[in-house]
């Protein structure tokens, strides 16, 4: 019999019941809740007179539509200016209070974007099944969790039963061998992968990212990669456990200690695909060929190397794709054939569950240090992913580097990644953004998003247009 993949092992370890019709009951170890996709689930529980199955597996925090402005945040939940946002955040507080769920409140240490605060608190740990009503839950796969986004009906189902009714996915191996060049980051790797396999390439699959490039990558970099598995269509993206994984969790707030830690570690070390494991599909990419990436269009697969040009409609033969390119060029206000570095930038956003961890901020600060934001750029938002990231960055003086460069240092939250709060683009504005989606209107109605790495975003802020970060001399921090 063939060996098991990492996904097979995690699936088997959490299988409560396999049914004849192909569906299964899968046990959930950690459920993370936020204000946007949970209110209807709590209401459903109340209407049916049901209680959470296990309170202690749930953890909650507000992130999607809270303000990132220092004064507005300091004024507290009751002072959130937008009434619907205020009701939503208060509803989360009330639901957590009445059901007894541990919530890290808006201004409490520990609060942050769900996929930043979960790992840094050790609330999500290797080998766990982790779900959240948010498609970027795959982030937690970076340390061998079986983690994925769910809808609100499933949020209610997990609250009530601790299980998910689901079907097993297929296995996809994405192997990136070799070494990355200078100035090429985790974000560039995942954007290049999405460009290669397409935004539906991973539909129906759980992806395992393997190869030298991921072995060399930090846990934070692996989180950036797994975070965007969904942009390749896959709900799940994973990397197996190694020494870096173990070291990352040692001493985290909710990580086990003492003898329990040793037992956990010996189990975590088994979280690898067997050498003879069989994958349904394999994609191999050479790491040394990857250069910094930039998205030009309105789907994450519409991505080109920074050295490249915006595609021309006439070069595409497939009619559906042609139509997509035509739509995208029109929406983005771009000319096919022009170099991607010719795109001017109106605003810059450094943040989101993809790129708001301390390493991301260090990378951006290394470019910003001793430089000034171009006069044509209206705003540069730097939004740390959590209260802990914010505190760490401030202790390293990164906030001062950003402020001196002419950037705004904000409070933690999802911010301009999806523009549910006041941080948004105006119609027609181009934004160099470290977030994960460049859909039409995603960052504000009519806004035009260019996805790239934190270093590339900082470089765009300085240059006033998309630019190759490798052409900038790094500051003293590099």
């Amino acid at each position: 019999m063939a060996g098991k993949t990492l996904y097979d092992k995690l699936w088997d370890a959490h299988l409560v019941q396999q049914r004849e019709d192909g569906s299964a009951l899968l046990y959930i170890d950690r459920h993370i809740l936020h204000e946007v996709t949970s209110p209807q689930a709590f209401e459903g529980l109340r209407l049916a007179g049901r209680k959470p199955w296990r309170l202690d597996t749930n953890i909650a925090t507000p992130d999607h539509n809270i303000s990132t402005d220092r004064e507005e945040r300091a004024a507290g939940v009751d002072a959130i200016p937008d009434e619907t946002s205020r009701i939503q955040v208060k509803t989360l507080d009330e639901n957590c209070e009445s059901f007894g769920i541990r919530e890290f409140k808006m201004n409490e240490m520990g609060q942050g974007i769900v996929h930043v605060m979960g790992p840094e608190l050790g609330a999500s740990l290797p080998g766990m099944t982790v779900v959240c009503g948010d498609s970027h839950t795959a982030t937690h796969g970076a340390f061998a969790c079986l983690a994925h986004g769910i809808g609100t009906s499933e949020v209610e189902h997990v609250l009530a039963t601790q299980c998910l009714v689901t079907k097993k996915m297929k296995n996809l191996l994405i192997q990136v061998d070799g070494e990355l060049g200078a100035g090429v980051t985790a974000k560039d790797v995942i954007l290049a992968i999405i460009g290669e396999i397409g935004t539906a390439g991973g539909n129906g699959y759980a992806i395992e990212f393997a190869g030298q490039v991921f072995r060399d990558m930090s846990i934070e970099g692996r989180m950036t990669v797994c975070n965007m598995a969904i942009e390749a269509g896959a709900r799940v993206g994973m990397v197996s456990v190694d020494d870096k994984t173990i070291a990352y969790f040692k001493g985290r707030r909710f990580a086990p200690t003492g003898e329990m830690w040793d037992r956990a570690v010996s189990y975590w070390r088994t979280l690898q695909s067997d050498p003879d494991a069989v994958f349904d599909k394999t994609v191999v990419i050479s790491g040394s060929d990857i250069v910094p990436q930039v998205s030009w269009g309105t789907s994450p697969e519409m991505v080109v190397p920074v050295t490249g040009s915006i595609p021309r409609i006439e070069d595409e033969m497939d009619p559906v794709k042609r139509q997509a390119i035509e739509h995208a060029l029109k929406y983005m206000g771009l000319q096919g054939g022009s170099p991607v570095t010719s795109i001017p930038v109106d605003r810059v956003f450094i943040g989101s569950c993809t790129n708001s961890r301390i390493e991301d901020l260090r990378a951006a600060a290394a470019i910003a240090e001793g430089r000034k934001v171009a006069s044509t750029v209206k705003q540069v938002l730097v939004v740390p992913g959590s209260q802990m990231v914010k505190a760490q960055a401030e202790s390293e003086g990164l906030d001062q580097i950003f402020i001196e460069a002419g950037m705004e240092w904000r409070e933690p939250g999802c911010s301009m990644c999806l523009a549910m709060n006041a941080d948004k683009l105006g119609a027609g504005e181009h934004c160099a953004s470290t977030s994960n989606r460049n859909f039409e209107g995603r960052q504000g109605s009519g806004g035009r998003t260019h996805l790239l790495s934190p270093a590339m975003a900082a470089a765009a802020a300085i240059a006033g247009h998309i630019t190759d970060v490798r052409s900038l001399k790094q500051g003293s921090m590099a």
């Binding site: 009951l25 299980c163 269509g233 086990p256 523009a419 039409e440």
Partner: protein
């Protein structure tokens, strides 16, 4: 959950690939704490010429005359024809809630994003997968014939065209059962409470650290 068995309805086209859930229901409407009322804001940015805000009445807003759902021939449509990878992006269940609230009962496309596909079944909405060429033909027929209707027979897994031609489609038996009977999934799972508890007891021996409370 709503029961789905046989449905006959008007077909409307949404002729673009990779329609994402931000497009189906933009983020400003996600601030609602209800499951209903999203219909007027379905495809908001494509449907209206101004920027929509929660709580605003759709009737006074300027409609985009180029958007098919605004055309009189597609008023009352309940079957949406779509292209590949429909519903990609965010996991927001507000997307199927908006489609349902607008009046759609069926979507027909060559493929769907996984989370959206799953969310449809939780809301009595049937996402049918058909081969790309067949979907392209349906687009042509719906566009060429005003008032084009299809009958969807879920028990027999058939799509019946106006001329009587039948197309068969595949559906997962579990999902089919849920739609046909309008099953309460939570109620069903809770019938397995003893099995879940037995799993927990075993798992607590294997991985005791998973049973340490978050405090």
């Amino acid at each position: 959950m709503k029961v789905f068995s046989v449905h006959k309805g008007l077909v409307a086209p949404m002729d673009r690939a990779n329609v994402d859930t931000d497009m189906i229901i933009p983020k400003q409407f996600l601030k609602s704490i209800k499951r209903t009322g999203f219909g007027p804001n379905l495809f908001d940015e494509l449907r209206y010429l101004d920027e929509g805000q929660p709580g605003q009445s759709g009737r006074e807003r300027p409609l985009n005359p180029d958007f098919p759902l605004n055309w009189s021939r597609y008023q009352g449509a309940s079957i949406l024809l779509a292209r590949e990878n429909f519903g990609c992006g965010s996991s927001r269940e507000h997307a199927p809630w908006a489609l349902d609230d607008y009046g759609f009962r069926v979507i027909i496309a060559p493929s769907y994003a996984d989370i959206f596909f799953n969310n449809c079944f939780k809301n009595g909405l049937l996402p049918i997968v058909l081969n790309e060429n067949i979907v392209s033909n349906l687009f042509c027929e719906a566009e060429q014939n005003p008032g084009y209707q299809l009958t969807v027979d879920l028990p027999r897994q058939r799509l019946i065209k106006p001329d009587g031609e039948e197309l068969s489609f595949e559906i997962d038996p579990f999902y089919k059962q849920c739609l046909l009977e309008g099953l309460d999934e939570i109620g069903l799972t809770l019938k397995q409470a003893d099995t879940i508890r037995a799993y927990e007891a075993q798992q607590e021996i294997r991985c005791p650290w998973l049973f340490h409370a978050i405090k």
